[in-house]
Symmetry: C3
Subunit: 250 residues, 3 copies
């Protein structure tokens, strides 16, 4: 199984699929191709939350603002999964989530023939062929052009500051519904009736429909983080929050 994730929209992902299907009859599953454009952090978050739901697979990830520059193409062995991605950190949080705690990531540099590839579509020319090759080989280490490397770009999400009377965190992402996901653990609010979010009081509820249409709520989202939402509306607008913003809970 090969999953595909990118910020390509259409129809570029289809070109990657054609390239893979020339080399493999793997099942293909799309993760998303509408990640926010060239937003490595947002893609990294969604991949960390989504890829662990899958059985062992090869995951092709192309969110690549540095395409055509010297940045390397990487393959990572992570448990029974393989990730292929540009060296900008986009696949690192997912790879950690798929790797046993305390185990170092096994990262490989994928050599590529510079003259055979375009400068602007490495998804088609570099990453898709590598994904097919690694899927067919069953491991990264068995692919000739993969060499172990200790030099790669890390990406981590900030930790919240948890105090006795609240917490200060950060908005990690806003989803398509407008639900605003922070990095504050859900357990901090799950037994409370309300909290103060950046000075604004809001009820804590277990479901969106527990408040009236258009009303704000704070809830524990499916990622086990504190989320800011509106029943049948957009939490990002109601709480005036965007990715990267600071959130103070009291």
């Amino acid at each position: 199984m090969i999953t595909l994730a990118s910020d390509f929209g259409t129809p570029y992902p289809a070109a990657m699929k054609g390239v893979i299907l020339q080399r493999s009859d793997a099942r293909l599953v799309d993760i998303a191709h509408d990640f926010p454009r060239q937003d490595v952090r947002a893609a990294a978050f969604w991949l960390r939350e989504t890829l662990p739901e899958f059985p062992p697979a090869t995951h092709l990830v192309v969110v690549d603002p540095g395409v055509g520059t010297e940045r390397a193409a990487l393959a990572i062995e992570a448990g029974d999964h393989h990730l292929i991605a540009p060296d900008n950190g986009v696949a690192v949080p997912a790879a950690r989530a798929l790797t046993d705690a305390g185990t170092e990531l096994a990262v490989y540099d994928l050599a590529c023939d510079e003259d055979a590839v375009s400068n602007t579509f490495h998804g088609r020319d570099v990453f898709a062929p590598a994904a097919a090759e690694i899927h067919e080989a069953g491991s990264v280490a068995d692919v000739a052009r993969a060499t172990p490397t200790a030099e790669w770009v890390d990406l981590t999400f900030p930790e919240p500051n948890l105090g006795s009377d609240g917490a200060t965190g950060e908005v990690l992402v806003v989803d398509d519904f407008g639900n605003t996901v922070s990095n504050i653990p859900g357990r901090l609010v799950s037994d409370r009736d309300s909290v103060i979010v950046n000075g604004l009081q809001a009820p804590v509820r277990r479901s969106y429909a527990a408040v009236g249409d258009g009303e704000r709520l704070v809830t524990v989202g499916s990622h086990d983080y504190v989320e800011f939402a509106v029943n049948r509306g957009r939490g990002d607008e109601a709480f005036d929050l965007a990715a990267g913003d600071t959130v103070e809970l009291r």
Copy 2:
């Protein structure tokens, strides 16, 4: 075969696919994941029109504004098809279309372990595992946590009033092109040259291109209902109609 339909956008549907693929190697087919947000009626219409095109399958449907409340999770046996959906009516018209006329719907309540699921993503935690389980079992009745129920939320579409000199109906949905689909049977206009729509005269034509670019027409759509359209334009805007609006044909 398992089909998937939701209003989730991306990347949440991919999490549902991962959950299914952990439990089954069923073929997966997307119906749509961009149904109008939390619009149970629109999704119910499209599912009724689309699912009967498929060979026997398990259909996973998650348009669920009541997620996390007491609303039940249902499975419906409908001919050779199975539908898994929240108990808000969203799958009922499709289930009826897949069931022999005059046969009662066979509806089951799916018990779920409240403590093992998030409150905001039952698509991943409740419906996707149930779809995989029912697909593998081959029937809803053979799934241990499914118990027959006679209590479930119905959803029907309004019938038009057909008179001797016209008809009064309702807009059921507007499609992505702006084509505006009413509940008035196409046979009422198919032998006419023009009709008056809410006081506005418009030609009846068999194809969009039978009128000039940007011009209004009334046609019999692929659902066999009267539709209001514009050649290479949007019928909803030209006729000033939205879902739920009344339409008088004379």
Copy 3:
């Protein structure tokens, strides 16, 4: 393998998939269903660039502003590929790209039972069943309702004028990123440091990231044409260019 391409958005492509899956268990791969509405030329360009990446397949293409008129339904044998499309030229450039140079296209007219089809959704009623039938037969010539035809709508892209001190070409398409693709061969700029585009000087670079964020560049895109782009921005806006516009390079 059957690929699907249309301007249908959702959920109409799912109806086509259901129709195919009633008749075939072919692997289905989406090319795109969000081609610019009823824009035959844009779809023709993307198909020409994308379909040759695939192994032998049956390609179902429905961008069809003339649906319901007298325009024919065609099937084209192109190398080991089959294309099914309305007779408006949309599949012709791809068919040529898949056919050996100098070989005539083998085009067939698909008879269809007019009474059995809707007037507005030939994707479901005509093209999808034909794609399944041709896929199962393994060739167009073996399908009873296909008859060779020499009458079909051609579609070609304009050739640029290449002079000693520059070139005059045309914008073929703008992609989802805003990258603006001309018909001028990349080799004309690949050894230059800068060019003048419609009077505006811009650097020629091998990658987007070779200029600062928000800065213009000219590059050789993945289609081997000269493209006008902005690093982390939209080239169409920065160069004030849209599909069909003339581009003068000096």
